[in-house]
């Protein structure tokens, strides 16, 4: 069954069983979002390595080339700087490209086009030249792909004015944020996660609507809590929820904030939560120095929430090393549930 075919299967099953939930994994959520946006606006097109005839290196674009053909789904040679620049130029001239990087590691070859040609142009032209482009692809660590294929770029791109940077966790995030990104007239860096592609989530009928978008720049409180705030993005949100389940048994109620967007950062939601709980732990897959957690801590310090902190904030991050290959080393290079629990207890002085 194609993803859309599966959707219709589920839809009719739901009608008969009177339950309006669709089980959709992150990959299919991204696929459906692109499919619907390609159908909705003929200026939208997808380009990247293996996106067309191979159905996508990670199958995220499965079925799209068959449906839309060579004009809208374009296989590129292995020339990131060139095709990212071509994508930005197409955006200058009125199209709405989705430029896929097979992984965000390869974006470093093209980063000049993302930053200097895409992010800065609207400002440099004083508003004369918008750049409606989405750069997307898997970000951060995977499993056993070693140092050159495992870097998280949230902090790198989150640093730059002129970019919107989003980092979905679940299928609702993936679907809604990708639609929002494609409809946005600005350059959006869309950081997916390879290990999340196959993970299924239940989506409501409302989420499955064609015009469902998740607003960029708004975090979501995934779990209400009173004792401590956990702020995270992407795959680590799941770990935070798992840690919260364990901690609840010990009477600690964690509030889990899913950032959804790295830039612009939803400081209001973070502050409101910290002012409620008085304690903060940030959790991310990327390296600690100059990272997402560092930014969150600085912003909390600078605002009203600081006065509500009962203890210094703690960051849980990837270990400050290039990603090793051996499984035991790799497992200990990324945040685990036990690391989150440990940090929560440290902050709460338990």
């Amino acid at each position: 069954c194609s993803p859309l075919g599966a959707f219709w299967c589920e839809y009719f099953l739901n009608i008969f069983s009177n339950v309006s939930l669709f089980q959709v994994n992150v990959r299919d959520a991204l696929n459906q979002a692109m499919d619907e946006e390609l159908e909705r606006d003929e200026r939208v097109f997808l380009l990247g390595e293996e996106v067309a005839q191979y159905d996508g290196a990670y199958k995220v674009s499965r079925g799209l080339w068959k449906k839309y053909g060579d004009k809208r789904i374009i296989d590129t040679p292995i020339t990131e700087m060139g095709f990212a620049g071509i994508a930005v130029g197409a955006a200058f001239a009125g199209l709405r490209p989705i430029c896929e990087f097979m992984t965000w590691n390869f974006s470093m070859q093209a980063i000049d086009q993302v930053i200097n040609s895409a992010a800065k142009t609207y400002y440099m032209s004083a508003g004369a030249q918008p750049v409606p482009i989405v750069f997307r692809g898997p970000n951060g660590s995977s499993a056993g792909v070693a140092a050159q294929h495992s870097q998280c770029f949230a902090a790198w791109y989150g640093h730059c004015p002129g970019l919107k940077v989003v980092s979905p966790w679940n299928s609702e995030d993936a679907r809604g944020l990708l639609k929002a990104a494609i409809r946005d007239d600005n350059p959006v860096v869309f950081l997916e996660n390879e290990l999340m592609y196959g993970v299924p989530f239940d989506l409501s009928e409302e989420v499955m609507q064609k015009d469902f978008v998740v607003p960029i720049g708004k975090a979501k409180v995934e779990r209400q809590g009173t004792h401590i705030t956990l702020v995270s993005h992407s795959r680590c949100v799941g770990f935070c929820l798992d840690a919260a389940t364990v901690l609840a048994k010990e009477g600690v109620e964690c509030e889990v904030v899913n950032l959804r967007t790295i830039r612009p950062l939803d400081v209001d939601t973070i502050e409101a939560s910290v002012m409620k709980t008085g304690h903060l732990v940030t959790v991310e897959g990327g390296w600690p120095q100059y990272g997402v957690g560092a930014e969150i801590c600085a912003r909390v310090m600078e605002g009203p929430a600081f006065n509500y902190l009962d203890a210094p904030a703690v960051r849980v991050t990837g270990v400050d090393i290039p990603m090793p290959y051996a499984k035991i080393l790799e497992d200990h290079s990324v945040p685990q549930i036990k690391d989150i629990i440990f940090s929560v207890k440290k902050v709460l002085n338990m």
Partner: protein, 369 residues
């Protein structure tokens, strides 16, 4: 061996009369510096070897090129007075390239270039006023003072780009949009001899050729990438051949008619769906790389003077028109006086217009639909 253009003479020989259009084209011969005819790469036939120049066209080209020249010299002056700051890369000497290209394409076609962009900003429709005011960083500048010398934009003109070579894939992308939208438009993507070795240019060549994008890649070869001569930077200085599988044309970039005929040929080629084409315009800049480069440490003053006296594009056009009775000396002088006034007024504006208001600082980060 001369580069021949046919000469047509009106039968109405009122040599002092300035009435009516007179059809003229000229022969030009030049020895060392520029080639005498368009060398071709992977092309059976090339640009037309005859060019027709009407009086109106001649006067228009003259006016445009002279305006560009005077504008750049005014920028030089303002820079030395410290009224313009930062980077300022001047185009004087290369006017025939910008003028010839604009004469051979439509306003609905697209163009992108690197940082030596003031000339193209003008030919693509921005006033001298708005250009100079952008250089002086005032609110009346074409980018409201937020872009500066290297970041000026107009309709179907995508700057002004500061990163060497980055504009070439961008131009190929604009061409992709033209193809996608089926609008029969082409994109001219310019780069210098210094940029010609950039990897991303070859990546652009590859994709443009694969997908037959309507992109005209143009290398403005002014012999120097900053202080490095072409012989010291490039294993192959045949820039029109560097597209390899892409056909190429070598053009005398000091002759506005040569440039115009070549770009017409190239645009027709692209519009016919044959794919991209590469052009090399042999030209010369009188100034150094930028205002911080005197431009005489890597070349001699004699060389600069020789080009000025033998190959100046504006002088060549003027002499052509005068010797063919297409205009009079007085008429040309009158145009010069008018241009001087335009430049002075623009400079006055650029000096007196206020700087952007501080509350503009954080505007234009995002487009809000």
């Amino acid at each position: 061996d001369l580069y021949f253009l046919c000469v047509y003479r009106s039968l109405m020989c009122h040599s002092l009369s300035l009435q009516g259009a007179r059809m003229v084209a000229s022969t030009r011969s030049f020895a060392d510096f520029t080639p005498q005819k368009c060398e071709l790469h992977r092309l059976e036939a090339g640009p037309s070897e005859t060019a027709v120049l009407t009086r109106e066209q001649g006067l228009q080209y003259y006016r445009t090129m002279q305006t560009m020249r005077r504008m750049e010299l005014k920028a030089d002056q303002l820079y030395k007075q410290k009224i313009i700051r930062g980077f300022c890369h001047l185009y004087d000497g290369q006017e025939a390239c910008a003028m010839g290209i604009e004469a051979g394409i439509n306003p609905t076609d697209h163009l992108i270039t690197a940082y030596r962009a003031h000339g193209y900003t003008f030919t693509r429709g921005v006033s001298v006023r708005e250009i100079l005011a952008e250089l002086t960083g005032r609110r009346g500048g074409v980018a409201k003072g937020k872009g500066g010398s290297m970041h000026m934009y107009a309709k179907h003109f995508y700057g002004g780009n500061g990163i060497v070579g980055a504009q070439v894939p961008l131009g190929a992308g604009v061409a992709l949009a033209c193809q996608y939208q089926g609008n029969n438009q082409v994109c001219v993507a310019l780069y210098g001899d210094g940029a010609a070795n950039q990897g991303q240019i070859f990546e652009s060549f590859n994709m443009a050729a694969l997908w037959k994008l309507p992109c005209i890649f143009i290398c403005e070869n002014n012999k120097f990438g900053m202080g490095t001569s072409v012989e010291r930077s490039s294993a192959s200085t045949d820039y029109f051949k560097r597209g390899d599988y892409i056909p190429g044309i070598k053009v005398d970039g000091m002759d506005v008619l040569c440039v115009r005929e070549a770009i017409k040929f190239a645009a027709d080629y692209c519009r016919a769906g044959k794919g991209p084409i590469v052009m090399e315009l042999e030209t010369y800049r009188y100034h150094g790389h930028s205002m911080s480069d005197p431009g005489v440490s890597y070349r001699s003053r004699e060389e600069i003077q020789e080009v000025r006296s033998k190959s100046d594009p504006i002088t060549m056009l003027k002499e052509r028109m005068l010797s063919n009775n297409m205009a009079s000396v007085e008429e040309i002088k009158e145009i010069d006086v008018e241009i001087r006034k335009v430049i002075e007024d623009a400079a006055q504006f650029a000096i007196s217009d206020p700087e952007p208001p501080l509350d503009e600082l954080c505007n234009h980060i995002f487009s809000v639909s």
